[in-house]
């Protein structure tokens, strides 16, 4: 019974502190173990201005076992899977302690957006991008924030977004291969698979590798 009581108490605590800009609500009134939480992207990061929604499943053993959290909102971040929204954060795993609340866990996620841990990545492709070219990474992460985390109004523009921008791939690189007669989708797929965002014009070896992959 303590679990229900604790969850209700946690809801109350979130409601009593509107300044934290954190929301926590049940998905349906019938099930108190499935919640959605949300928080705002930390300022002065590429996530600024976004509202990030997190799916929360509270296990039977809560609070002795950590809640299962994953991002519903697509996030471009080294420790968050760009596909599934799975999160790599120690306090949600072995460093969990019963004193941590859903609210404090959401705040930790906010802090994770602020300071990524690229050496312990969830999404290797994103982490590589982060380590190799921070500026380009920030651009992509900001684009994703604008596209996916900005509430309903961004949805309309989603169709027009260039796939190359979406994965932070250098436009000129894509154009170069497009001029050789390859399909854009295919080029992007290959470049993503190879983890390439841009290319040194003198690097013939890599260029050949891309060609090889494209011709497969």
């Amino acid at each position: 019974m303590s679990r229900a009581k604790r969850i209700m108490k946690e809801m109350e605590a979130v409601r009593d502190d509107p300044e934290a800009n954190i929301d926590l609500e049940f998905v349906s009134e019938a099930d108190i173990h499935h919640l959605k939480g949300s928080f705002l992207g930390p300022p002065e990061t590429p996530y600024e201005g976004g509202k990030f929604i997190v799916d929360i499943e509270v296990p039977m053993e809560y609070p002795f076992k950590p809640p299962k959290m994953k991002f519903d909102t697509k996030v471009y971040h080294p420790n968050i899977s760009s596909v599934t929204g799975a999160i790599c954060l120690d306090i949600l795993k072995n460093a969990w302690s019963p004193v941590i609340t859903l609210k404090s866990a959401l705040i930790s996620l906010q802090a994770l957006l602020q300071s990524p841990e690229p050496n312990d990545p969830q999404d290797a492709e994103v982490a590589q991008h982060y380590l190799r070219d921070r500026e380009s990474f920030n651009k992509t992460a900001a684009l994703w924030t604008k596209l996916y985390a900005n509430g309903g109004d961004a949805n309309s523009s989603k169709g027009n977004v260039d796939q190359a921008d979406l994965y932070g791939i250098d436009q000129s690189l894509v154009t170069e291969f497009e001029n050789q007669g390859f399909e854009k989708d295919k080029i992007i797929e290959v470049l993503r698979r190879l983890g390439l965002k841009s290319l040194d014009p003198n690097d013939n070896e890599t260029a050949n590798k891309i060609l090889e992959e494209l011709l497969k």
Binding site: K5, R6, P63, F64, P98, V99
Partner: protein, 541 residues
């Protein structure tokens, strides 16, 4: 099937319809066997000098007693110098406590605190001592033994259980809590939440700290809270994680429910082992023999590499093959469904009395007097096939060997079940025949040898699968395999005997057959090693 009901699925040990005729098996005199083998193995002398000399020696030992200690070692892999110790977690735990007692006068802090420090240092005494001399107080704070004086936000409290009125626990949010627990840090929670929390952490093997800060719970605190010796459980899981972390030198016995840990101090010898294509087998205190390097059961004549790729392949292909390997077979004569319930492959259909071999489904008669032809894969038959059928040929070849492997595994399991009854047999020998316990041990010994023989036989099919079948040595290996298969079946049939009188009458036969199986096992292992070291085995997946 109309005939199904005719067949009795036996459930009790006394009812082996297929094996009721063990007597007609033609058992040759052991000396004849040796001579036969000797000649047989010498039929090709030019390329295999060394190999034959090995066999020579082994066969020379055939007359020696079953429990010859020198020969035991040879089965373990001929290299005798592997030094290892076998522990249980309890042994290690006791060693730890001794260690604590040794350190206590040096540290002059309570024993419980030393345990915490050792846990923090993964039981590495030297590293702990080094750090201890460098930064004594810092270490005590780091390990959560002393409170960090900088965090003073909470009023200091007594370590232990307190009785309160109307306390609201921040974990479960229940009010009117009567009993609470806290450490000196003052982070206070209700006792049931604390118990829950500890219960959850006991299996992780790490130091359990206060839920809010890094102050550690000592073993005495845990026991006080849990009303019992729970800290011991923590110690055991701490040891478990220690073993996992030091998997270079420690290995859990891979056998189900076995709690032994084998420790090898110096693993540099392994290089030599691997160079000579031996596997480092160890024997745990429960008499389970396993390979220290790959944590598999004894897999000779296969080496670790063959073993792992065979297992991988088996996992990959088993879905396709399961239908082939269903547990029942139809009698080749009358099509009654037959379930195999003993280790022996000599089957006698309960309905039509047809005697056949479980492995090759053909008449038993040619099996009894000579070695098994059915363990040899008939390559000639396939030569007639066209290149287009190559793929199905490979699969067919694999299927054949996998089936052989599987049959022997199943047989080994059934033999093991048989082993459960051996104890009873010895008892009945004692009661009915007045045989002393020690004298009855030849049954246990024979069973052990039978198991080893089967295991070697089983793995030998993995070796043959990966071997170049055109090579002469492979042929010799296969012949050796057949000889072992034959001797194993003989011994297995002997062990099926129920009546104590017959068992005692055949005691010499037990010795002879068991000794023979042992020698054949060794010969097959050596031959396999030769095969591997000559590079005739090629692993392709």
């Amino acid at each position: 099937m109309a005939n199904d009901e005719d067949y009795q699925y036996s459930s009790s040990d006394d009812d082996f319809p297929e094996q009721q005729y063990y007597e007609p098996l033609e058992h040759r005199d052991i000396t004849n066997n040796i001579l036969d083998d000797y000649e047989y193995l010498n039929y090709d002398t030019d390329s295999l000098e060394s190999f034959n000399s090995d066999v020579d020696i082994v066969d020379g030992m055939a007359v020696s007693h079953v429990t010859n200690p020198n020969k035991k070692r040879s089965i373990e892999g001929a290299m005798v110098n592997l030094k290892y110790e076998c522990f249980t977690t309890q042994d290690i735990f006791n060693n730890m406590l001794e260690k604590v007692d040794r350190l206590q006068p040096m540290f002059s802090i309570p024993r419980e605190d030393i345990i915490l420090l050792l846990q923090k240092y993964g039981w590495d005494e030297d590293r702990l001592l080094e750090d201890w001399t460098n930064k004594m107080d810092g270490l005590l704070i780091e390990a959560g033994i002393h409170i960090n004086n900088e965090q003073k936000e909470l009023p200091k409290s007594q370590r232990g259980i307190s009785n309160r009125d109307f306390f609201t626990c921040p974990i479960c949010c229940e009010d009117q809590i009567k009993e609470t627990y806290s450490l000196e840090c003052g982070h206070e929670y209700c006792i049931s939440c604390y118990r829950h929390y500890i219960e959850d952490r006991l299996n992780k093997g790490n130091i359990i700290t206060c839920m809010s800060c890094s102050l550690a719970l000592k073993n005495t605190d845990i026991d006080e809270l849990m009303n019992g010796p729970s800290s011991e459980k923590l110690m055991h899981s701490s040891i478990k994680s220690f073993v996992q972390k030091h998997n270079e030198n420690y290995r859990w016995c891979p056998f189900t429910d076995c709690k032994c840990i084998v420790h090898i101090q110096d693993t540099t010898e392994f290089v030599e082992y691997i160079r000579l294509h031996y596997s480092p087998y160890v024997l745990c205190n429960e008499s389970h023999r396993f390979c220290f390097s790959c944590s598999f059961e004894m897999h000779s004549p296969a080496d670790c590499e063959i073993t792992s790729s065979w297992i991988k392949k088996a996992k990959k292909e088993s879905d396709n093959l399961n239908w082939v390997l269903s547990h029942t077979k139809e009698c080749p004569k009358c099509s009654v469904n037959i379930e195999k319930n003993g280790g022996c492959n000599h089957m006698i259909c309960s309905s039509c009395k047809y005697e056949f071999c479980w492995i090759c489904n053909s008449d038993w008669k040619p099996h009894g007097s000579s070695f098994y032809q059915c363990t040899m894969y008939n390559n000639d038959e396939l030569k007639t096939q066209t290149v287009i059928e190559d793929v199905s040929k490979t699969l067919k070849r694999y299927t054949f060997f996998y089936r052989m492997f599987n049959e022997h595994e199943v047989s080994a399991k059934l033999d093991w079940q048989l082993g459960q009854t051996v104890g009873n047999k010895i008892k009945s020998l004692q009661e009915k025949m007045g045989v002393s316990w020690i004298e009855g041990q030849f049954l246990t010994e024979s069973l052990k040898i039978l198991n080893e023989g089967r295991t070697a036989l089983k793995w030998s099919f993995a070796v043959v699968f990966y071997s170049d079948s055109s090579h002469n040595l492979t042929k010799i290996f296969v012949d050796n395999q057949a000889l072992l298969a034959n001797s194993v079946e003989d011994l297995s049939a002997l062990l099926q005997i129920k009546s104590p009188e017959t068992i005692m009458e055949k005691k010499v036969e037990f010795y002879n057959k068991a000794g023979y199986v042992e020698n054949r096992t060794y010969a097959l292992m050596e031959c396999g090693r030769e095969l591997i070291s000559k590079g005739i085995v090629k692993i392709t997946n």
